[in-house]
Symmetry: C2
Subunit: 227 residues, 2 copies
């Protein structure tokens, strides 16, 4: 572990996850402000727009190493650069994706993650009809090649877009082969060692809430009429 | 509001959101158990596999209207049907998607949501080069048509895949035009009336946490080498 007082502008240790999760929101707003040509912006204004308490805004943005000045606020250009740097948008972290089905293929084609510092460089599947194909220029390899390629290329991120029932075993293999961060789209709660960075995107949980609440709020008449 | 004691098997009122979010995990597990031909499963076994406290499992599954029997547990076939019914997988709720860029197009092509009861039936954009085109059989309309079509077709769900800076105004228009549930993929915290069902899928927040934690855990030597 790094000491917090090593003279670096920002301490990279112990930034709360909610703060990190808000950073892309700040970045989006500051990009917009920057495009509009505003030279400065204050924490209360940022807070009002994003509906975040101004004190929290000051705390969050301090994690990028930038602080505002009384009356003037933040220099927009400085803050923009600091946020992009904090979020690693100036670097690229490479990722392997496992599960080249519809969702996996969609994510590969989307590749909006590249701007956010994550670059999918290869896909893996065990379906012979998919192996050897290319999706948006990204090649699909047999799962047999995964361990060798991860180790040779020092790939830090594994993206799981497999069916739910194989996600846990794929994740475990990823850990064994040296993957340090897993982004899981399969609708399962993965059980992994504490040192593995894990983020879930649970589409189906979102959908379950939407559908359940919609049906709760539906007029009774309509409920009776569907069969 | 419905009374809870109206003789219905399940009360549709006031099921906690964390319970609802866990339902797709139960469904996935029970589907697998069903495929394996097991006739029964107990709450402790479900809990052990999904790492959920057995008491919580019992409470969650009771919301589907099904309860287990002492020693025997749940009848897998019954539970499967009840979970699918609870999650609305036997019905379809129609959705309009606004923002037919890369992400929107990917979601339309994915359409894995259909199995979960949500069906994207049309897309909208204000880019003239996109209007009139079809993506996986789904037509892209001008935003001008949105209000008319939402009202005529009683569409309950709006999916937002626009750039961040227009997401709030798109969401407000959706509310005015009668959309009851919004699924937001834009990296902004939308401010909406309390009666609107809102679910966010914040890819960029996931990415921010992954990238930030990776960089925290990186050996110092490697940090020095990137410029």
């Amino acid at each position: 572990m790094e000491s917090k007082s090593n003279g670096q502008k920002t301490s990279l240790v112990g930034i709360p996850e909610p703060t990190v999760r808000r950073m892309p929101q700040y970045l989006n707003l500051i990009r917009e402000i920057h495009r509009n040509g505003e030279p400065n912006i204050s924490a209360p204004v940022i807070g009002r727009i994003l509906r975040i308490d101004a004190t929290q805004v000051v705390k969050d943005l301090a994690c990028t190493g930038i602080s505002g000045k009384p009356r003037v606020g933040y220099v927009v250009e400085e803050l923009l650069f600091a946020l992009e740097a904090f979020l690693g948008y100036h670097r690229q972290h490479e990722a392997f994706l496992v599960g080249a089905g519809f969702l996996g293929s969609s994510l590969i084609q989307y590749q909006g993650f590249r701007d956010a510092g994550v670059n999918i460089v290869a896909a893996f599947d065990n379906d012979p009809s998919k192996i050897g194909k290319e999706i948006a220029g990204i090649k699909v390899y047999s799962m047999n090649k995964f361990s060798d390629l991860v180790q040779r290329l020092h790939i830090p991120i594994g993206i799981i877009t497999t069916p739910a029932e194989v996600a846990q075993s794929v994740a475990e293999q990823m850990v064994v082969w040296g993957i340090r961060a897993i982004w899981n789209f399969a609708p399962v709660a993965l059980r992994l060692p504490d040192n593995i960075i894990l983020q879930d995107t649970h589409f189906y949980a979102n959908l379950a809430v939407i559908v359940n609440k919609l049906e709760q709020s539906e007029p009774q008449a309509k409920k009776g009429s569907k069969k």
